[in-house]
Symmetry: C2
Subunit: 206 residues, 2 copies
């Protein structure tokens, strides 16, 4: 507005040019998909020419790799931040909150992580698979602990883990960070839903 030049994307201070490229790439990859996004389009959003991007990055796939990597970091850090000494119910709630927080806080990165990671190849792809497995293992440990303590009641821990992760994972499709539901309310809904699914409260009626 006013006298400022028509620079569409103003960089937040402290953000490197590279971070800005990644941010905009995340937006475009999310909206159009990795392969439907051209480097020229990405450059245009940043007010520069396609070739200039290569002063900051090596390749298009590197962008995807780094976006997916950052999301995987965030999810894994969130899961590993869940206190092991808390009760299974509290741990599950913390896991859910963390998952939703990551999605809400970086919906573009998260969406690209869930939707476009298959377009990675070689070791990068393998690296993603490993971290997804690690994330799933964190949730599985919580479910197993709940079954062991009698707080949960499920027939098959692996299937229960898979279904719970399914419930959480799909949320990137519809969760709107600028939506009406605040994180804590959404966490409460999700937690109650998942706890019921895991058979919590079957023994102890309220």
């Amino acid at each position: 507005m006013g006298t400022t030049p028509s620079n569409t994307s103003t960089a937040p201070s402290g953000t490197s040019r590279r971070d800005e490229i990644l941010r905009v790439a995340g937006e475009l990859f999310r909206r159009h998909g990795y392969h439907a996004t051209s480097m020229r389009e990405l450059a245009k959003r940043l007010n520069l020419r396609g070739a200039s991007l290569y002063a900051h990055i090596d390749s298009k796939e590197e962008l995807l790799r780094e976006i997916v990597d950052r999301a995987a970091d965030a999810f894994l850090a969130s899961a590993r931040g869940v206190p092991c000494d808390a009760s299974p119910v509290a741990r599950l709630e913390a896991f859910v909150r963390g998952h939703l927080r990551v999605i809400e806080g970086q919906i573009e990165t998260a969406a690209v992580f869930f939707h476009e990671w298959t377009h990675l190849s070689g070791p990068a792809r393998q690296h993603v698979v490993e971290r997804r497995d690690a994330y799933q293992a964190e949730l599985r440990a919580i479910v197993a602990a709940g079954v062991a303590s009698g707080d949960f009641d499920v027939e098959d821990v692996d299937v229960a883990t898979l279904l719970t992760l399914s419930t959480l994972n799909w949320s990137y499709q519809w969760l709107d960070p600028r939506g009406r539901l605040p994180l804590e309310e959404l966490t409460a809904f999700y937690t109650e839903y998942v706890l019921g699914a895991l058979g919590a409260g079957k023994g102890a009626q309220r």
Copy 2:
């Protein structure tokens, strides 16, 4: 094998060439994504040249449109086949079974439906959105009926519907039609999980 010519894709009898193109397109779109699949690659899998495809179809997008359309048909038909006069619990189970049956029966089509429909544009895209909404409305009616009858106990019918659909939708990511779990067993797991999540059995303990 034997003396048969090296025709990699043998058409099932009664299947038109066009159906065969759609089938193979579904496989490739699922594996590589819509934009990462070239018409030449598709043609090669069918032992013909890229240009020859256009004797059977008008455009690449038409392929996507028809694949997504067929999947939407299948899901909607499944949901509408659930008997309205059954109990909410039975209706939910039937909905779950139908959903899983569609995915298991046509995993390629279903995966493309969930993953690639955003690459449709204009009226085709709108058409998909309408049918997704209709499918969701079918599930919502079941959840609402269960709440009304006292069989289910949820705080918010819309959120509960959304989370249940999330649990079901993600299954295209991992469900393996050639996997160990037969449909009925998987249906039983899912149904128990979702019924618990919806608060069924909270009042009446078994």
